[in-house]
Structure formats: C-alpha cells, structure tokens
Subunit: 322 residues, 2 copies
C-alpha cells in the first residue's frame, strides 16, 4: 500500500465539528479559536514492548488507550479536548489492520468530541502511537499541580490498583480462563476513562487548588505534585478506593493491596488537592471523589501511613527511563 | 538517570514568551489565545535509520532538522508557529547527550519564536523525535493545497536538489574529504530553512491560490496539490532552480540534474500557485520565488517537460510506506 492510499483510508474517520475549518489532508489542520479560553497542549507516547504488547491488548485497545492517555492530561488541567494529531509508526504486518487502531482512537475521541485533524505515518519495526491533543480551558482557570497548600485535603477519582493488578496477575500466569477478578482488572487496564466529565462536575462544585493525572502511579505522581507545591502529602492506606478484584488478587498473593494501588501506572485517575472547608460540598453533591489524604507543611515528600508506618512513595511507580 | 532528572535538564531550554502561561512541567502547556487568528496544528516524525543515521547527521542537526520539518508545515499554510511539543525516544547511549538534540531544536525554534511547552521521553532502541507544532494564521487566511486553478503560475522558494544530491553522493562514496559541492549540498541537507519569513513576504505582496510544503519531493507533492485542486501541473526542467553543486554532481554521474531535483525530499521549500496576473509584482518586489511551471485544465496529474518529453512526476519522491 502507498502512503497516500493509507492516509485516505484514515481520513474517512475524520469527524467534522463546528470548530474545525480544515481536517486532515493538508499541511496542517486548521481550527477556529474562541474567545475567553486558554489553549492546552499535550502529547503522549504509546510504544510496543514498552507500554503494551499484542498479547495484552488488541489493536483497537491500543488505539483507545493511547487516545485516553492524552485526553487524561487535558482533564487534569480542568479543560476539554478539541482536536488531536496522531503519529503512527506501523510495522508491515499491522498496515492492513490499521483501521482497528483507528476504531479505538475514534471510540475514545468521539466520546469526548475530539477530531483527529492530522498526523503522520511511517513504516517501522515496532508499533508506536504518538498522540498530540489540543484542548481548552476557561481563561485563567487552568488547574496546575503546584497549588496544593498545607491543610488541603487530597482526593482521587475512580479506584486504584486494577492496571497494576492485571499486569501482576499476568506475570504470575493467573490470567488464563475466565475469572471475574481478572476480568474486572483487565477492563480498566484496557479501557481507562479519561476523567474529563468528572473533572468538569467537580470543578463546578468545589474550589480546587491543584490537580495531576496519576498516569505513572499515585506514588511518583503525588510526589511530583508535592514537589511542585513545596508541601508534604500524607495518604492513608485504609482510605484508598481499592477495587474488590485487586483485594482478591492481593489476598491470593499475600501482598498488601495498597502496595499494588500506589505503584499502579496507567490509572488515568486525577489526584486533587482542595481546601478542607469544601469537604461538606463534596459529600452533598456526591462528587466522584474519595478523600485519601492530606497536605502538610513540611519538606516536599509523599508518604503513606500503612500498618502504623510512614512509608516513602516518591519512587513508587513508572519511570520512563528505567 | 531518572526521568524527572532528565526532564529538569530539558526544561532549562524553555523560552518564556508573552503568549505562554505555563511552559513544560505540568500535565499540559497552557497558552493565551488571541483574537483574529485561526489555529494551525501539525506533527512530524524523525526516525533513526529511516530519516537519518548518526553517520549522516550530528545529534544537534537531528534536533534542528526535526524542528525545521514541522515548522515548514506552518509556513505552507501562510502562518507563524507559536509553541511545540517534542516526544523523544532515546536509546541509552544518547541519554547523556540529549542536550545536543535540544541545542538543535532550540536553534531552529528560537529563530522563529517558538517555545517548547511539553512532550514526552521514553527509553527505546532507536532515536526518534515526534514534533508537534501549534501555529496561527490570520482568520480565514490559511492557504490550502486545493486552490490551484487553470491559468495559475507555479513557483518555488529556494533551490532544488541538494538533499537528494547529498544522499546520492553519499551512497556513491563521494562525500569523503572536503569538496565545495558536497559541502554545499550537505548544508541544506542538514540545516534546511523553514520558509516562514519568505511566505510572509510573498503573501503580503501577491495573491496566492494554493501552497504546499514539498517535504516528500517536488514530484509527489506537486501531484498531491494537483489532485487536491483537480488540475494538471506542468513544470519545465530548464526553469528549475538547481544549485551549482547539484549540477556538478549530475554531470559527474552523467544523470539529469532535474531528475535529482524532482525526487529530492526534505527540501522544505514551498510550491505556490498564483494568478498569472501577479507575475509582474513577483519581479517588482523581488520575491524569493522562481517560476517553474503552470496549472492547466486537464485530469489531475503532475508532469515535467524535459528533453522534449512530458514525463509523469506523480510517483517521484518519498513514500513513507516504501
């Protein structure tokens, strides 16, 4: 197949939107700008053998997950996505099945009204996706990771531990055959939800001081937030929202469930710091958040209280250079 | 080295600008939007073994060229770049020298007032850069590739053939030792100029119907413009602005110089279609353009008149899937 033939296949996935003046097929995608908004830019990489294998994810799931990861960064700033570009490195064997990747990208981008307006394809040995997303946030209302203050409470969207639980079960040879708990863990591993709608609801109801996408794990990402804010963060193991499937695996392997939860990367949950005075609203509006810790005045660090010990979390999670 | 340590090294390259609210280091880069502009989005890939080798380019040149390629797409739309994101796949051996890549990126981005506001790093086997650029163009004034009309003239910025000439000389073992013509060819191969300033000058003086960045070669990219516009393009071999170094190589190898010129990728020159009535202004304002052909009413195609023959150009150039 020639490059232009493949690109024409992919252009069929383009979704029009009132914001888009020119979709894929020219030197750039062209969008209308809107007044009263700031622009958000983010990118993510999704690489065969590093972030996924074909044994662990279908091509459709590869597309979905790569898209979800980039959208999650937009959610963490309190914004909404608008448009995306995808650079695809395609091995020969994947070229005839590239539509499956686009089906996955399309699934997650359509859900959040994001159009793919361009990108690049190359023939390579390994499958790789580099996803770039442009989003928007109300002017001067972007939420940063450096605003956490002593006295704030820390809360998390969704639940923790399933992606790491699934990988652990896989490496122990426990994922063969149908098991409810493997299924539950795999569901989030393969199709995480970028918390765009949740963040919109939350920021409409309470004041937020800081937020971060914990894509590398609660441990390392909470430390990043603590360091940026110049504060200490303290979490409580018994407060973490750990899914039943992860608890089941932990007891089976005789490990602590919180251990899986803090090291679990690719969660795409948002860690949020907010004034303690907002706690009552959180309950009243049934916000999709669980309070898991607090911010303290001390030298930057992130710790968890578990079994009566204060344990350093700053290196627990995914490091891209390891 | 840990990911966060490397990222802190790279953040030192960040250039502040009045447009940028938040540079690298958060989940997204944040920019002010400005009224009266449309937004341009583009991405490019630059992959070891495919677009470059360490024998052919220094790390600094790899950075420069990857940046220039993405900026060239912004130039083709008649716009100006604002901000960039860079996804870096780094082999272990390159990690300690990553600053050299950033020196090159910085060289070309600084020249065109473009700040790197984010990106991603991964440790991999091959060096890869995926560069995303956001730019802007005056509202409703983006220039597309589909606007060429019968009767238009076709003109090109800069000169043609040097990148392909350099690669040809290299594969023939002719690049060892100092030779003026190898040097001249290598200069453009390693440090092409995105035609942002040239395009601004041109569009200020004449009406433009269509433009395209000929990064895959005049042959294939002119065909893309012809197909998008539904017209035939006819070039004249004797009109092509071919550098003396390329002429020297051609006569040495006894090949046609225009052959190198039309197949030469990574030129980053702009092919522009404009009304014939503007020709006089082109000369009067000394615009940096050479007229090389014309647009005709016929079925979509791109051809060159050379030695009395009309030769198909539609497959002459770089195909990413070959």
């Amino acid at each position: 197949m020639r490059e232009d033939e493949l690109l024409r296949e992919l252009f069929r996935y383009f979704k029009e939107s009132p914001r888009i003046i020119k979709g894929p097929g020219d030197d750039c995608g062209v969008l209308k700008s809107v007044p009263g908004k700031d622009i958000l830019l983010t990118s993510d990489s999704f690489i065969e053998g590093k972030h996924f294998t074909h044994e662990l994810l279908s091509l459709r799931e590869v597309g979905y997950k790569a898209g979800a990861a980039a959208l999650s960064d937009i959610a963490a700033m309190g914004g909404k996505p608008v448009a995306a570009l995808v650079n695809l490195n395609l091995p020969e064997r994947v070229i005839p099945r590239v539509q499956e990747i686009y089906d996955g990208l399309n699934e997650v981008f359509s859900k959040f009204c994001t159009s793919i307006v361009g990108g690049n394809v190359e023939k390579t040995d390994k499958l790789e996706l580099h996803v770039f997303v442009m989003g928007e946030v109300i002017q001067e209302k972007a939420i940063y990771r450096d605003g956490a203050r002593p006295g704030d409470l820390l809360a998390i969207t969704g639940d923790l531990g399933r992606p790491q639980g699934f990988l652990t079960a896989y490496h122990k040879g426990l994922t063969k055959g149908f098991k409810w708990w493997v299924n539950d863990m795999r569901e989030k591993f393969a199709r995480p939800t970028p918390r765009i709608e949740e963040m919109e609801k939350i920021r409409n109801e309470i004041e937020i001081h800081a937020a971060i996408d914990i894509s590398d794990g609660l441990g390392i990402d909470s430390y990043r937030m603590a360091r940026a804010s110049g504060v200490e963060m303290l979490f409580y193991a018994e407060k973490l929202p750990i899914n039943e499937s992860v608890k089941h695996l932990s007891s089976k392997l005789e490990i602590k469930d919180w251990f899986l939860a803090v090291e679990s990367g690719e969660e795409y949950e948002l860690l949020i710091a907010f004034p303690a005075s907002e706690k009552e609203k959180l309950e009243r509006h049934k916000l999709p958040l669980t309070i898991i810790g607090e911010v303290r005045e001390d030298k930057p660090g992130s710790y968890i209280m578990a079994d009566g010990m204060k344990i350093d979390l700053s290196r627990r999670g995914w490091d891209a250079l390891k």
